[in-house]
Amino acid sequence: MDLTQMQRRLVDYTSSLFREGYLDDQFTQLQQLQDESNPDFVFEVVTLFFEDSQRLINELGEALDQQNVDFKKVDAHVHQLKGSSSSIGAQRVKNVCVIFRNYCEERNTERCMRCLQQLKHENSLVKTKLETLFRLQQQILTAGGSIPMWSE
């Protein structure tokens, strides 16, 4: 595959991610922050996010497994996750967090469990997608090209 094709594929892939709602405008912002002085900015942020989200999901699982669920703590975790996901533009994860918080307020354990499952699902989805994205970017870079700035 030559460079142009690779770039084309990257652009298509990225736009599909946006179209399907996996990412939102915030991700674009992050991409804009990446420059020569900060070449791996997006990668670093995303990596940090996944570490964070994994930790939070584990803790959520533990908290919801309790006999007496401490909804305050659950809400705090979800809030954190919501913050992180919105910071990087993981839209679908964020949306689930919003719903999750409502159920927390209602103190509905079952629904919360279901949200947690959904969270795990969405999280792994967006993780896979972003990993693919980075791989594509890396391929282009090794091929000597530059990453096209996606803008709409």
């Binding site: 002085s37 670093e44 533009g89």
Partner: protein, 732 residues
């Protein structure tokens, strides 16, 4: 015969005669010897006697005379020659001394006489000095009386007391029988007896003022002796045969406030005088002495001054009382007015709310109804209902606005805004209606019109909408043209408005907006009524039953609040009208959306506090991209530990409850006393609700920014922060 050397006496001895001579000589000698003795004795006794040697001479003369006479005693009988020799010697000596004494006396006697003259002179002098001293003493006493009188008179500011005191004191000092004061009446043609010493309440005697005696007294400022029979002096009916005492009258000038000019002593050309009449006791031989007259004159002057002071005081007290009364009345009126206004406002507020609620229901439900299936007729009816209720809603709003305007509770919301965009919006709003009526709409903005101005955007837009909307409403064909320009000074003066005094200043200019329409026009006599509230629309437009209502009145009030003016011209019915208004706007020094953003903030020290690692990293990335020097902390304790004066901005995520962020703010406010030393604290929050924002601003944060934040937004946030020192005036 014996030839003795005895000398025979010349005459034959007549025994008796001889005897007498003998005795006389003896006594003479005795006297002559005793006189010097006496002289010596008394002179020795006296202290002063300048002529001692004269005394000696005189003594010698006397002694010798005595000796002569003594020796003569021996010549009556036979005496020897020795006796004769002695006698001769004595006589010779006596002769010598007598002559010497005689010669000397020629000198002495004039001197002695002159002593006598001097003595007489001194006696006269002494008498004269005595007299003078007597006079001085009298004068001093007079002076004392005057002082005492003046003191008495001036010690009170009450007119009655002054006059009474004067009369009493004068009466006492001069031991008068009667004192009387005649005051001029209001008409000035008569003198009325106002006060007397003896009579307590004098019945109103009056005398005409033109009597010769009175003129005589008034024409001079001296005390004048008048006849006791003159009408002013005849206070009691003449009884029997008492000889009335001498009477003196003096004028008392009555000074008015107007007599005292600044820098000018009171002119004594004042016409008003009172007359003071003083009578000595009858049946006494007393006469008016000069010093007494002088006393009277001085007192009269003092009285005049005291009276005028009293008059001034009375006047000012009266004025003050009047003012107090007026104040009380005004206060009452004000309070009543305030109560009325409050009552009205309460009423309006209640009514407003009461009116709006059903209005809202009507409008909402009608519009819902419109969405449903309706027959054409029904649709028409619903549309009419909707239109009418919209109108009513507008009217209610207008009423509230107007009432708020009237009691000045409407305050201008002065802010910088884009003038061009206001006009564009207005035209956009009006275009649909205009095109439905097939009217063309043109907007003409002058090239020198500033883009960013300071003023109340909402009011201005409302006014323009009102005016342009009216133009569209009342035009059936043709078009509307809106011309916007900066008013020139000459056209400002030309404004057809009494009381409109435009004052252009450096930071302000007058915007001129002219809306021309080709509509139904207005007849000239109706023009003044246009701006009155609820002007009768029947006379203005026959077909349109929706009148102008409050619109123009409100616009006028808005404009006067914004220091502007509006007027309408029309050539008559059917000829369209031109509405022009001027409004004062400020020139914005910096545009509200800064065109010149800083694109880079090199070296700006920023502290980011966020509990969420990912957010932290993202925010840091944003700031680093903009060139800042970023420090990140994960908690408020860490933040407070690390923050220092070098950090210019702190972005704090306020978390779930916001406690962290609030805590940081309050600690920092304590730590840094001066505002310019404190870093600017901006809250970063994902909470969009107003409560969070209000809380942040209340604890004293310099701004609130919503997450997630884009690069451009962060750039403008930092620009505004650094330019204004706060985000509070802008909307984020």
């Amino acid at each position: 015969m014996d030839s003795c050397n005895c000398i025979e006496p010349q005459w034959p001895a007549d025994e008796l005669l001889m005897k007498y001579q003998y005795i006389s000589d003896f006594f003479i000698a005795l006297a002559y010897f005793s006189i010097p003795l006496e002289l010596i004795y008394f002179v020795k006794r006296s202290a002063v006697f300048p002529y001692r040697w004269v005394l000696v001479q005189f003594g010698a003369f006397i002694v010798l005379c005595g000796a002569t006479h003594l020796i003569n005693l021996w010549t009556f009988s036979m005496h020897s020659r020795t006796v004769i020799i002695v006698l001769t010697t004595a006589k010779v000596l006596t002769a010598a001394v007598s002559c010497a004494t005689a010669l000397m006396l020629v000198h002495i006697i004039p001197e002695l006489l002159s002593v006598k003259t001097r003595e007489l002179f001194l006696k006269n002098k002494a008498a004269e000095l005595d007299r003078e001293m007597g006079m001085i003493r009298t004068q001093e006493e007079t002076g004392r009386h005057v002082r005492m009188l003046t003191h008495e008179i001036r010690s009170t500011l009450d007119r009655q007391t002054i006059l009474k005191t004067t009369l009493v004191e004068l009466g006492r000092t001069l031991a008068l029988e009667e004192c009387a004061l005649w005051m001029p009446t209001r008409t000035g043609l008569e003198l009325q007896l106002s006060y007397t010493l003896r009579h307590q309440n004098p019945v109103g005697f009056t005398v005409p003022i033109q009597l010769p005696v009175i003129n005589q007294v008034f024409s001079s400022n001296r005390a004048v002796k008048i006849s006791p029979n003159s009408p002013v002096a005849r206070l009691r009916p003449l009884v029997g045969k008492y000889i009335p005492g001498e009477v003196v009258a003096v004028r008392v000038p009555l000074l008015h406030l107007s007599n005292f000019q600044i820098n000018d002593w009171p002119e004594l050309s004042t016409k008003r005088y009172a007359l003071m009449v003083l009578m000595l006791p009858s049946d006494s031989a007393r006469q008016w002495h000069v010093h007494e007259l002088e006393l009277v004159e001085v007192v009269a002057d003092q009285v005049a001054v005291a009276l005028s002071h009293a008059a001034i005081l009375e006047e000012s007290m009266r004025a003050r009382d009047q003012l107090v009364e007026q104040n009380v009345a005004l206060d009452l009126a004000r309070r009543e007015a305030e109560t009325a206004i409050r009552a009205r406002n309460d009423f309006l507020a209640v009514m407003n709310h009461e009116m709006r609620t059903p209005m809202h229901a009507i409008i909402a439900l009608s519009s819902l109804l419109q969405e449903t299936e309706l027959t054409t007729e029904q649709r028409l009816m619903v549309e009419t209902v909707l239109k009418s209720s919209n109108l009513l809603a507008t009217l209610i709003n207008d009423v509230l606005d107007l009432s708020r305007l009237e009691d000045r509770s409407l305050e201008l919301d002065l802010r910088a805004f884009n003038l061009h965009s206001v006009f564009r919006e207005v035209t956009n709003l009006i275009k649909p209606i205009a095109s439905v009526k097939k009217l063309f709409l043109s907007l003409n903005l002058a090239p020198d019109l500033p883009e960013y101005v300071v003023g109340d955007e909402k009011l201005l837009m409302q006014t323009i909408l009102n005016v342009a909307g009216n133009a569209v409403k009342f035009s059936k064909e043709g078009g509307i043209s809106v011309c916007v320009s900066v008013a020139k000074l000459e056209s400002l003066r030309d404004a057809r408005a009494p009381g409109f005094s435009p004052m252009p200043s450096d930071n302000h200019f007058y915007l001129r907006v002219q809306v021309k329409d080709s509509g139904s026009g207005i007849s000239p006599q109706d023009i003044p009524k246009l701006f009155n509230k609820f002007a009768d629309s029947q006379s203005l437009t026959s077909k349109n039953s929706c009148g102008k209502g409050l619109g123009l009145a409100i616009s006028k009030r808005f404009l006067s609040l914004m220091e502007g003016h509006i007027w309408i011209e029309s050539e008559g019915l059917g000829k369209g009208c031109i509405a022009t208004f001027l409004v004062k706007l400020g020139i914005a020094e910096r545009p509200s959306e800064p065109e010149q953003l800083y694109s880079h903030f090199p070296g700006l020290q920023v502290l980011v506090m966020d509990g969420n690692g990912v957010s932290r990293m993202v925010t840091k990335g944003l700031l680093v991209h903009l060139g800042c020097d970023v420090t990140t902390v994960g908690s408020s304790e860490e933040c407070l530990r690390i923050v220092s004066q070098k950090h210019k901005v702190v972005f704090a995520d306020v978390g779930i409850s916001g406690m962290d962020g609030y805590e940081v703010v309050s600690v920092l406010q304590d730590r840094f006393s001066a505002r310019h030393q404190r870093p600017l604290i901006v809250a970063l929050t994902a909470n969009t609700d107003r409560a969070t924002k209000d809380n942040c601003l209340r604890v004293g944060m310099d701004g609130v920014v919503l997450k997630p934040i884009s690069l451009e937004k962060m750039r403008s946030v930092l620009s505004v922060l650094l330019q204004n020192g706060t985000l509070r005036e802008t909307r984020y």
